[in-house]
Symmetry: none
Subunit: 130 residues, 4 copies
DNA sequence: GTGGTCTAGACCACC
DNA sequence: GTGGTCTAGACCACG
């Protein structure tokens, strides 16, 4: 279901969050859709329930999902983009670091733009546009 | 000299590494140029020498710098890009995560491409070519 | 558990790394096996945890082990040899120096080959093949 | 004249010692031959005279050379092999580490033996035998 | 003066 | 519990 690498340095709970957010953009999850329960996901992915719990809490904090007590966790239907200055800086840093590393691997500007375009297509495939 | 945020979640030593690598691409550091000594940088940045040491060792491990015994640490003059499969995956993940987050902030494809191009220009400004 | 000589000129952390790598080849450590925790090994070997930590990080960097977040350090199950040009030179230098020194101790070609064969047997004893 | 890598982790003075000892075995230096003076070697190799001085002291300590005060340093004419137990252990450790590393690079027993034989030939070319 | 190693002890995030 | 990072302060080899 999710693409988790337990030996990665990015925390597992963060990988789950990323997977869900990416999945929504790809159209794998529809707004209003129910996510598997903490226990269920923990069992199928062989993860510690606490880890899944933390991921779900983080998703809710980001308003990507909403939790209905006793009913489960659902993809938000009314997500509104919020342009947070700090978040923007963070994203730029992410890109900048990627660009620097790509340069050190021998990629030039064009290569990098192409790589980004490929990744965009991969993501946009599932949805008409946003 | 360096742009360090001690309250950031990225380790200080890693921020130093990133700063140096970015500085080289921007032309702030010339190949062969001497970096400040471990002690000196630690003093000016108010960091523990061990932290700076760790950064310098990581830089040397990546062949971004070379260490001359008893003389100091210098920017490599003969850096050769090496395409590591794992590293490439890592960079793609970085980009993908940035793209996902950007989407959640309301940016569309074009916005993202433009953001990347801006960052590329910022980096390429200092050097004739790469 | 490990064969450490604190009075040796080779750093302790490097001796630990060598011990683990040799132990794997001898079959003392199985792929997937858990290494003692940093604290535990530090305690039993009467070393500072940081020293053990450095050794473990070096082992992971070489992909000899993998680290599972919050769970511990394990022998890699899928180690793939990688032929690094620099590393090969390094190994040859090691052998060359050994040969030169052996000559100065009065050993001839045959003696040296026999010494190598002995060492190979010592290592290969634990495993069916390599 | 000598093959020195200033960015290597092996101390420069040790590299000089190794070069001289190897050169003797290869027949590049004859017993009784005069080595360049400390100043001369330091100048031609662009090294710190102290470094060369240290190398020469080490060579004399090992009885590989003898120094005639005011006349210079000469290759010993009466070098006698001495089987030092500690030294033997040291050499074996060098070989063992080389073997372990070679294994991790994917070489098997035969590859290693062949590598040793090549290195032996390279060294034996200059002399009939020892 | 340079980097390299080690100890001691602390705090943190993650599982 | 696990590893990861940081500070503080010390000692050493090298050039």
């Amino acid at each position: 279901m999710f693409n988790i690498d337990i030996s990665s340095s990015t925390p597992i709970y963060e990988q789950i969050v990323d997977n869900v957010k990416e999945g929504i953009l790809k159209g794998l999850f529809e707004p209003g859709e129910k996510l598997p329960s903490v226990r269920e996901l923990a069992k199928t992915m062989r993860l510690n329930p606490n880890t899944v719990q933390k991921a779900y809490q983080e998703l809710e904090r980001q308003k990507v999902t909403i939790t209905l007590r006793g009913k489960g966790t659902y993809i938000s239907t009314d997500y509104k983009p919020r342009k947070d200055e700090d978040k923007l800086m963070e994203v730029k840093e992410m890109f900048k670091k990627g660009i620097v590393e790509a340069h050190y691997m021998g990629f030039n500007e064009e290569d990098i733009i192409n790589m980004i375009k490929e990744l965009l297509e991969e993501l946009e495939g599932g949805k008409a546009n946003d």
